[in-house]
């Protein structure tokens, strides 16, 4: 089939605005899945994805419509995966922008729409859920048309649930989205927009061929990472893998690589042939680095090998996950893990607990810092306790935050952002009621509880999205916590100097409440270097006896003591002080208490 018969498109939408339902309807209308095979929301295959209503791993499905080959490239639906979204969009010529006719545009819709515009995609605006009683299609159509600079009449009105209007969408894809325009005879280039791991066949790459063609048995090379392999099988998803032997310019499909390590095949990289290499890779490849880090420790230290094996397995399917062994004096053996963002962290943690049945202690997350020690070279620091006390310069990651709120919450959002060291960037009215605010914020101020705070202060009305803005110089200090005079590495934190006293004070207060009274006074101190900035004391217990013990209840009393002993063993010992595991999470809730 020639390129002019091919249409490659994505669907972009805010969570719950109906992306997956529309995808399902498209598969049904094009007879790609029988009724019997039909599972609602077929594209979201992982259990966790289905539960959370989000798509984590992109996939691509080929369908046929009125003599055309349509490739639907799914995109991950969350802020942590902005880079992956942008690569999926780069593989397309057009995008369906789905907006809930009752909810209107959300921050995520905007972020993805801007990504699509940046990638020069033809955007087909769609209002979904027009059958809902609370839908306001005219107002939302105007909002969407204003955003895209078009006519409200061009906005297609559908109900993905009932199927109303979906054929019109398919026709619009054929009519409005341009055909691919690569060079079918040039040196082959294909964009990797996703990958997965098949336990029998190794790494599977999902690609969009831009120029030339690839065939089974071709010797293939990735242009950025220079990984080489033989294409064991080529084909497309319909939605099951369908081998074709050949993928040509304009087509979307998969390549079975036989590689055993998913990290050798990076999303955004370009495939070419070893014996006919392209001169230039496709633009836009970035080496995505984890920006959010946390320590993962097994609650029971005997589970360490299980945790290691589980991380190894997860990593096979998640090239963005980073981990390295970490030893904490307080928590024992575990791993320092790096994530793209908070949701990514949450997903990894849940998968470890659910799929691998592990009981984990996850330390408070922190961001990556770039530090230039005196007379030394820049280093990246992933653990607060590794932050040197003395440095020439330190940099922390910032984000561009995009927030949409009803106008009455603008003040409270601005106040929150000021508290979080935000720099105001821009404000505009999307409609009479809704305002779009953009800010620059240190990522560190966002990772702990920013989103919860934003939601609770705006009664859930705010929507939020961000992308990384890069590293900026900061005025940061490491605050250590000493329990019983001994530093507890897992409790160290890096914060803005201006907040150090307040946060240090809150932290030791919180710890005083979390640490049970012992047989001796336990001082809890916060310190910057050797300077103590806050101090509390857990007073020693004055009595702890079993009131009476006679012949009739020796057994019961003995069991009480044995139970008490067991309880002690479960606590982490820090310098002879029993610290319950909850205490290590104290830092997570500091801001909540302040309000």
């Amino acid at each position: 089939m020639g390129q002019d018969q091919i249409r490659n498109f994505s669907i972009i939408a805010h969570i719950d605005h109906g992306k997956s339902t529309l995808a399902d309807r498209i598969l049904q209308l094009t007879d790609s899945v029988s009724e019997r095979e039909m599972r609602d929301q077929l594209l979201d295959s992982m259990e966790l994805e289905r539960e959370r209503g989000i798509t984590i791993k992109a996939q691509a499905v080929r369908v046929r419509w009125k003599g055309h080959e349509l490739n639907l490239i799914d995109t991950p639906g969350h802020v942590d995966f902005t880079y992956e979204v942008s690569r999926s969009l780069q593989a397309c010529e057009g995008a369906l922008l789905v907006v809930d006719a009752a909810q209107g545009i959300e921050a995520q819709t905007l972020a993805n729409a801007y990504l699509a515009i940046e990638n020069n995609l033809e955007i087909i605006p769609i209002l979904n859920k027009i059958d809902l009683p609370q839908a306001d299609p005219d107002a939302v159509a105007t909002e969407v048309a204003d955003l895209l600079g078009g006519d409200p009449a061009e906005v297609i009105r559908i109900s993905a649930k009932t199927g109303q209007g979906v054929e019109e969408v398919l026709d619009a894809i054929v009519e409005r989205i341009p055909a691919p325009a690569g060079d079918p005879d040039g040196p082959p280039r294909a964009l990797i927009f996703d990958s997965s791991y098949d336990q029998y066949r190794g790494v599977v790459a999902f690609v969009r061929v831009v120029d030339g063609s690839f065939s089974t048995r071709d010797r293939v090379r990735t242009m950025a990472t220079r990984t080489e392999f033989e294409a064991e099988e080529l084909g497309f998803m319909a939605p099951a893998r369908t081998p074709t032997g050949r993928l040509e310019a304009g087509e979307v499909g998969y390549v079975i690589t036989g590689l055993k390590d998913v990290s050798r095949l990076r999303v955004g990289d370009t495939l070419t042939l070893q014996d006919r290499p392209a001169a230039e890779p496709l633009p836009g490849y970035k080496d995505v680095k984890p920006m959010v880090f946390a320590g993962l420790f097994p609650t029971d230290s005997d589970d360490y090998p299980e945790l290691r094996d589980a991380l190894e397995k997860l990593k096979l399917n998640d090239g963005a996950l980073f981990y390295e062994p970490e030893t904490s004096q307080a928590l024992g053996f575990g791993f320092r893990c790096g994530f793209l963002g908070l949701l990514h962290m949450e997903i990894v943690r849940e998968r470890l607990e659910r799929e691998f049945d592990l009981d984990l202690l996850v330390t408070a997350p922190n961001v990556a810092y770039r530090v230039k020690p005196p007379h030394g070279d820049w280093v990246e620091v992933h653990t607060p306790s590794d932050m040197p006390n003395e440095y020439e310069q330190v940099e922390e990651p910032y984000i561009h935050a995009s927030i949409i709120v009803p106008k009455e919450y603008v003040g409270t959002v601005m106040e929150l952002n000021n508290d979080r060291r935000g720099r105001f960037d821009h404000m505009e009215y999307l409609s009479e009621e809704r305002v779009h605010l953009t800010y620059e914020l240190p990522l560190a101020e966002v990772v702990l509880d920013y989103y919860d705070q934003l939601k609770s202060r705006t009664r859930g009305y705010a929507s939020f999205d961000y992308d990384l803005a890069g590293f900026r110089p900061g005025t940061l200090v490491r605050v250590d916590v000493l329990v019983g005079g001994e530093p507890v590495d897992a409790l160290s934190l890096v914060i803005h100097r201006g907040n150090a006293y307040d946060r240090g004070k809150l932290l030791v207060e919180k710890l005083r409440q979390e640490i049970p009274r012992q047989m001796f006074d336990v001082p809890i101190q916060a310190a910057i270097g050797s300077r103590i900035i806050a101090r509390e004391t857990v007073k020693a217990r004055r009595k702890d006896v079993l009131a009476k013990c006679y012949g009739g209840d020796i057994t019961r009393k003995r069991k009480l003591l044995e139970k008490q002993k067991k309880g002690k063993k479960r606590m982490k010992q820090v310098g002879g002080v029993e610290v319950p595991q909850e205490a290590f999470l104290a830092v997570l809730n500091l801001n909540e208490d302040k309000k």
């Binding site: 047989m519 217990r541 009595k543 702890d544 009476k548 013990c549 012949g551 009739g552 002879g576």
Partner: protein, 367 residues
């Protein structure tokens, strides 16, 4: 056939009313059952006599309210029990009369433990005790005048609503009676009891304010010349050893035989508890059979742990060789550094502060 057990406990479950905080095996009213119950006790004694040494050191009649037992039945019991050097009976103040005192003396009782608990009327009401403060004083004098020279008072502290002044007043009143022995317990609000349901929240509110009551009790009593010989027990210091010999047997890990409903025995590494159900108990013994019981074999490790737990309640050092294997050495070193234990290589003892934290120290020490 004779055995080696030299300590006998006899349980008399009958009470006039049940105190909210109590979790002993008790039976309300049923005066008509006192006679048959004593008969059953004596039948059980016959069945078990083989375990007892020819000469007993101690007999202890506990309850319930032993002194509520119908007088003829109580006298018959006392007459039939084997003689012992120390025979203790627990008494509730409101049951003590000159006649009862005479009967106890005649039955060979050498020591009476009087359940005073507190001298404050409103606190007695909280505990659901029937006696008045005057009953306590009167009962004490009655026993003294009858000739008892070894009297013990039970006190409870940490009662909901008990102020510091209330505690001092209780200690004043108790010391004024000059008893040979005092048992002072912190009120234990056991989960699930009616009492905890009614007063648990109040107790939690007061926990901090009452935190030093224990220390205060120990200070006052030792200041008045009493020896703090066990976590919750005090005896007048002097030439006469006024410690409770019977209870000392428990704390030293000796074997003991218990008779009656719910009574516990520990003999030769086996512990058993007789059924707490009165009907089952009377029924079995009526047929000449031993009553149903629950067995708990105590292996050597459990016995060592108990030895440690009980031994550390006393003011005399514990021989290390008997408990060494039950001890976590690193915990011992830690506790030593904290000034809670003293270990001279042969014996282990708690310091004064260690004794106030005895439960936690023991839990820490257990290997």
């Amino acid at each position: 056939m004779t055995g080696a057990v030299r300590h006998l406990y006899v349980h008399l479950p009958f009470c006039a009313s049940r105190c909210g905080y109590c979790d002993f095996v008790t039976v309300l009213g049923r005066e008509g059952e006192h006679g048959p119950y004593v008969a059953a006790l004596l039948a059980e004694l016959e069945l078990q006599r083989g375990l007892l040494a020819p000469r007993l050191e101690t007999v202890f009649l506990g309850g319930g309210t032993p002194t509520l037992t119908e007088p003829a039945a109580l006298s018959r019991l006392l007459e039939s029990l084997p003689p012992a050097a120390e025979v203790t009976v627990e008494a509730n103040p409101e049951t003590v009369t000159p006649a009862l005192a005479e009967a106890l003396l005649a039955g060979g009782v050498t020591r009476v433990s009087l359940g005073a608990q507190t001298f404050q009327p409103e606190l007695l009401a909280v505990l659901e005790r029937r006696a008045t403060p005057d009953d306590v004083t009167r009962a004490f004098h009655t026993l003294r005048e009858a000739g008892f020279d070894n009297l013990s008072l039970d006190l409870i502290y940490g009662i909901p609503g008990q102020s510091r002044a209330d505690l001092e007043a209780d200690l004043d009143s108790a010391l004024a009676l000059d008893p040979e022995h005092l048992s002072c317990y912190e009120l234990e609000a056991k989960p699930g009891t009616r009492f905890t349901h009614a007063h648990g929240a109040e107790l939690e509110r007061q926990a901090e304010a009452m935190e030093d009551y224990f220390e205060r009790v120990v200070d006052r009593l030792t200041g008045a010349g009493y020896r703090w010989y066990e976590t919750a027990n005090f005896c007048r210091a002097g030439e006469r050893d006024l410690r409770s010999r019977h209870n000392l047997a428990y704390w030293l890990g000796r074997d003991y035989l218990g008779l009656g409903v719910g009574a516990v025995s520990t003999v030769a590494g086996v512990r058993w508890r007789t059924t707490p159900r009165l009907a089952a108990y009377l029924g079995a013994l009526g047929r000449g059979e031993p009553p149903p019981r629950e067995l708990e074999p105590l292996d050597v490790e459990v016995r060592r742990r108990e030895r440690l737990m009980l031994g550390l309640r006393l003011d005399e050092p514990l021989a290390l060789d008997s408990v060494e294997e039950a001890i976590d050495r690193s915990a011992l070193e830690r506790l030593e550094r904290l000034g809670l234990t003293v270990n001279d290589g042969a014996t282990l003892a708690l310091t004064r502060r260690g004794r106030f934290l005895g439960g936690a120290v023991t839990a820490e020490l257990l290997a």
